[in-house]
């Protein structure tokens, strides 16, 4: 099978789609026939990512941290242990680290070398997180990246970018929106967007609650 080098992500709905359908099917068939994988194992994983694993888990973690000071302290000390204790996912891999936004500091997560991302609590990363524009610019122009997301921070707000160059995985603990005093964890979680846990967005305002 020859590589067609002129294919791009943007033409993915044309030639790449059919080429890749055939190519991945061929690889799966060979590896299944040789006895390395059972296609049912692939079905189960796909189903998990499509239905169970996603940013709602991270949102529940953030909402808990906003309402339970002891949990927040535990989360910032050892996020793997703290999230595991909540029982939201079957098992949290080691090396999860939560970093806290404050009125003076905004955190942003990137992986410039590949696309490392905390899959277990945020699900699979969006295409933009894996793209060259984000991976190249997050470390030297985070304000420009934020502008692409329609987010503007005060000039004197310290910006801290975490490049995920090892097996440590990061999530941002955003600031709790004002006007949410006394809210339940469930209602608070509805304000927590995926992007606010990557640092390319902020939580929704209280007025946007569902």
């Amino acid at each position: 099978m020859a590589d067609d080098h002129d294919e791009s992500e943007h033409s993915a709905h044309g030639s790449e789609l059919s080429e890749m359908q055939l190519r991945v099917r061929a690889l799966e068939t060979v590896l299944a026939e040789k006895g390395y994988v059972d296609p049912a194992a692939l079905d189960a994983m796909i189903e998990a990512y499509e239905t169970r694993i996603g940013p709602h888990t991270g949102a529940a973690v953030v909402a808990k941290a906003w309402t339970d000071p002891a949990f927040k302290e535990a989360l910032l000390a050892d996020a793997t242990k703290a999230v595991q204790a909540l029982g939201l996912v079957s098992r949290v891999g080691d090396h999860l680290i939560a970093v806290e936004n404050t009125p003076a500091l905004h955190n942003m997560i990137v992986c410039t070398l590949c696309s490392c991302y905390p899959w277990e609590i945020l699900g699979l990363p969006p295409v933009w997180y894996k793209s060259a524009p984000y991976r190249s610019r997050a470390v030297n122009d985070p304000r420009g990246v934020l502008a692409d997301f329609g987010v503007s921070l005060a000039r004197d707000m310290q910006i801290r970018v975490w490049d995920s160059t090892a097996e440590t995985r990061f999530m941002v603990l955003p600031m709790r929106p004002s006007g949410t005093e006394g809210w339940s964890s469930e209602k608070l979680a509805s304000l927590v967007t995926r992007d606010s846990m990557i640092g390319t967005g902020l939580p929704k305002s209280a007025a946007a609650a569902v």
Binding site: M20, K34, Y36, D43, W128, A132
Partner: protein, 218 residues
């Protein structure tokens, strides 16, 4: 390797374009490709570092013009062939033409909880940590042709150790079968101006996760 994958600080890729209501997969083959990669990883023939290296070493034009999951598929084909699990001819034919190595295990649906959870990369230390939080360090000016996790933009730069993250598998050796060679891992924090010069945003700080062999005292 100083490859196209090492994108931090490069110019010219344009704006970040978020997609509204993005689906988990954009086509069924993406899900098959992801799951096939994870299932084959669970067999344990190669390390996660070798997987990354196989994608980084795709020709630069292929790397840039391929979607994320296409790169995963191409990398997996390479590893399957390099480890003798299947031949290029078999992949082209879409069928097994001979039996694979008999000792390998089969990944089934019963393995799903394991294949969905990341493994631990902690390993027992081989010696005491050389650095502690607050120490100033200079990253090494290294350009290995093999896999490394020290990005170009952060080489030969002075930063401060912020945290010791424990002793981990060392990707630079694990990527090419040279062993886990566990090393201390640190979060190292740099001022924006140290990385990008006087014109950098003065309110910017960037950290990398750096293995001890990448660092000298400063």
């Amino acid at each position: 390797m100083d490859g196209i994958h090492d994108m931090g600080g490069m110019h010219g890729f344009g704006k970040v374009e978020p997609e509204q209501d993005e689906p988990v997969f954009h086509a069924p083959w993406e899900g098959r490709c992801l799951a096939l990669n994870r299932a084959m990883a669970a067999i344990g023939v190669w390390t996660i570092d070798e997987s990354r290296a196989s994608i980084e070493s795709l020709p630069p034009d292929v790397y840039l013009s391929s979607s994320y999951y296409r790169k995963w598929a191409l990398g997996l084909e390479k590893r399957v062939i390099n480890h003798g699990l299947a031949s290029a001819g078999e992949i082209a034919a879409g069928h097994a033409l001979r039996h694979g190595p008999p000792s390998t295990r089969k990944v089934t649906a019963a393995d799903t909880p394991r294949t969905l959870t990341r493994g631990s990369y902690y390993r027992p230390p081989q010696g005491p940590a050389l650095f502690k939080p607050g120490d100033r360090v200079r990253t090494k000016n290294i350009h290995p042709e093999t896999h490394t996790r020290l990005p170009r933009y952060a080489r030969d730069r002075v930063g401060v150790i912020e945290a010791n993250r424990g002793c981990h598998v060392f990707p630079d050796t694990a990527a090419h079968g040279a062993g886990e060679n566990p090393q201390w891992l640190y979060t190292v924090l740099f001022d924006g101006t140290e990385l990008w010069g006087d014109k950098s945003d003065p309110a910017l700080k960037v950290s990398i996760e750096a293995f001890e062999p990448y660092l000298d005292p400063a």
